[in-house]
């Protein structure tokens, strides 16, 4: 089933065309990844879907209905959340408070409590540090918190912007394992990565984004073995 379908999406930033009309689909229950170099427009795509960036053309259809534009509340309410780039946890709030802000639009106290326990079961480290200011957590813990916070809104679709940014390889492995687990529990994942190697390994399908255009598409494995992708994004894969 088609959950999210982006058609010919265009975004302008102060006269510069960051997205020149991209189209892609995310099916229910999938992990879809957008890979690409810096400035390819990956983050812009996610910002446009979450309503944080103004859309200048094209359409975003979610569950068969157009998604409200530039209205982040409605987008979150509809079940799409964003774990933003660079984690952006609230540094002077405790871990627990961060999670509670993630559930801001929900009114069911019981459900929120249950989901906090669910996040703790995914990331036991967060439970150990629930009273600690988020700014004092390590980078990996902050990323866990960012993912956990995004899960607190009980999303159908969770969008992650570079969850591996600035993390040690071992921590990256953990995070990706968790992403797979979240997905297996029924949450669709739209993942954006520079670490194409790791992203393509867990993704069902992938798209390659280059300067505002989609240039390649295929299943995760197809892209992983594609010569062009190998040369451009999987420098490490050559050595294997």
């Amino acid at each position: 089933m088609n959950l999210l379908s982006v058609k010919n999406l265009k975004v302008n930033y102060g006269g510069i065309e960051a997205l020149k009309g991209i189209s892609f689909d995310v099916n229910d229950g999938e992990i879809v990844t957008l890979i690409g170099a810096n400035g390819a427009g990956k983050s812009t795509t996610l910002r446009a879907i979450s309503g944080l960036a103004p859309i200048s053309g094209g359409s975003i259809v979610y569950k068969g209905a157009p998604l409200p534009k530039t209205d982040p509340q409605k987008v979150v309410h509809n079940g799409i959340t964003l774990a933003p780039e660079g984690r952006r946890v609230f540094p002077n709030l405790t871990t627990l408070e961060n999670l509670k802000v993630g559930a801001y639009l929900r009114k069911d106290e019981e459900g929120i409590k249950k989901d906090i326990q669910y996040v703790y079961s995914l990331f036991p480290r967060l439970e150990e540090r629930h009273w600690q200011m988020a700014g004092t957590l390590s980078g990996g813990e902050q990323q866990m918190l960012a993912v956990g916070r995004a899960l607190m809104a009980k999303p159908k679709l969770i969008m992650m912007d570079e969850p591996s940014l600035g993390l040690a390889p071992l921590v990256v492995k953990d995070i990706f394992a968790i992403i797979k687990q979240i997905n297996s529990e029924g949450v669709t994942v739209l993942l954006i990565e520079q670490n194409a190697n790791a992203a393509l390994k867990i993704a069902h399908r992938g798209y390659v984004l280059e300067t505002g255009r989609i240039t390649l598409t295929g299943t995760g494995m197809e892209l992983f073995t594609n010569e062009l992708v190998k040369q451009a994004y999987l420098g490490a894969a050559k050595k294997e």
Partner: protein
């Protein structure tokens, strides 16, 4: 520490405060200075906490406090000045006829209704300021940081200019100000004497603000302060919450303004110049931006320091027959400013930082003191340079 112990300690403190206030009430004549300082501190504490709600918890740097206080002070004063005094006060231009009729109608109400009027007047002042804040908030709150400060400062000055303008003479008495504002009202038929009223109102206001800060709205405020984009991505409506914080803060600021008018017994527009905003900002910064208990503590310390404890610097000091230089009127403010600089240098984040008062904190204080000031005592640190 157990929850029950904490509760007992809290009840003890509150009981002590109540006993102390009633003792003050019985000894007003001897403790006049103390009463005046404490009342002013309580009023400024409301203003400081409401400024903290906006600046410290929502991250909106606003400098409009004096303006909102003046709205509260004027609305309250106009509604509580005894109706028979009105013609005497507005002797230059006469009272606005509508206002006079309204006040006459109020004076004709039965006495038990009239006993509520001072509180309703304070409430009316707060609501007027909240309405005004909601209106100017729509354009102003789209601005960020410094620009917001400049815009709110501008509005504050506009309010002051409007209140003192000749066109408003028949309502605000223009630049002559309003006199014979009655003292704080009694409550519950004298059970709560007028001396205690400002403390009770301050306690209620601060409690309401603390409840707001600890609610899910408060969490949304803090998330806006921390990271607007992340907050928006979590579904927090930025403008709605900024507007709410701004309106609530203005309401309580105006309540403080109304109480200030009752405290001073006469007001004029000049009282509510930018200097008043800076006084409140000073209290907030010294107490710690983002700490309610810090604001309350520093409201008392700053007021007492400025008005009372440093008074002796203003009077000439003789040691034998030698007169110490510098001790003359105004020297107190020099000392006060130096103390401020010392506090700001050594406690950059204010006395309390972003911490709140807690019994655990008090219990830990001796440990902390030992660590901080008596470090050299005891065993030398391991792996030092001298080994």
């Amino acid at each position: 520490m157990k929850k029950q112990t904490k509760r007992i300690l809290n009840i003890c403190i509150i009981a002590l405060a109540i006993v102390f206030l009633y003792w003050l009430n019985a000894n007003t004549s001897k403790q006049g200075m103390l009463v005046a300082i404490l009342q002013k501190s309580a009023i400024l504490a409301i203003a400081a906490v409401s400024m903290n709600l906006l600046n410290g918890f929502t991250g909106l740097f606003s400098l409009g406090q004096a303006g909102f206080m003046s709205i509260g002070a004027y609305v309250t004063s106009i509604l509580v000045i005894p109706a028979e005094n009105l013609n005497g006060i507005y002797y230059m231009t006469g009272v606005n006829q509508g206002l006079l009729n309204f006040r006459m109608a109020m004076a004709n109400c039965p006495p038990w209704v009239q006993s509520f009027f001072p509180f309703l007047a304070i409430l009316a002042g707060g609501l007027a300021a909240a309405l005004f804040a909601a209106l100017i908030g729509m354009p102003v709150l789209r601005l960020k940081s410094d620009y917001l400060a400049i815009a709110t400062l501008g509005f504050s000055e506009i309010i002051r200019a409007v209140f003192s303008s000749p066109q408003m003479d028949s309502i605000t008495n223009g630049s002559y100000g309003l006199k014979s504002v009655p003292n704080f009202p009694e409550m519950a038929g004298g059970l709560i004497p007028s001396l205690v009223t400002p403390f009770l109102i301050a306690a209620i206001c601060i409690l309401l603000m603390v409840l707001l800060i600890n609610s899910s709205y408060g969490r949304a405020f803090k998330s806006i302060r921390e990271d607007e984009i992340a907050a928006e991505a979590m579904g927090v409506n930025l403008l709605k919450h900024k507007e709410l914080a701004f309106t609530a803060s203005s309401f309580f600021t105006a309540v403080a303004g109304g109480l200030l008018a009752m405290y001073m017994r006469s007001i004029e527009a000049k009282t509510f110049s930018i200097a008043l905003t800076y006084d409140i900002l000073l209290i907030v910064v010294i107490g710690g931006i983002g700490s309610v208990s810090g604001s309350i503590l520093s409201a008392f310390l700053v007021t007492a320091g400025k008005e009372w404890w440093l008074r002796f610097f203003d009077t000439p000091l003789y040691i034998g027959t030698w007169q110490a230089p510098l001790f003359r009127t105004g020297f107190r403010m020099v000392i006060f400013s130096i103390l401020l600089m010392v506090v700001v240098l050594f406690y950059r984040r204010g006395l309390m930082g972003t911490n709140e008062f807690s019994w655990q904190g008090i219990m830990r204080f001796p440990q902390w003191f030992r660590r901080k000031f008596l470090k050299r005592k005891g065993a030398p640190p391991k792996g030092g340079d001298d080994t």
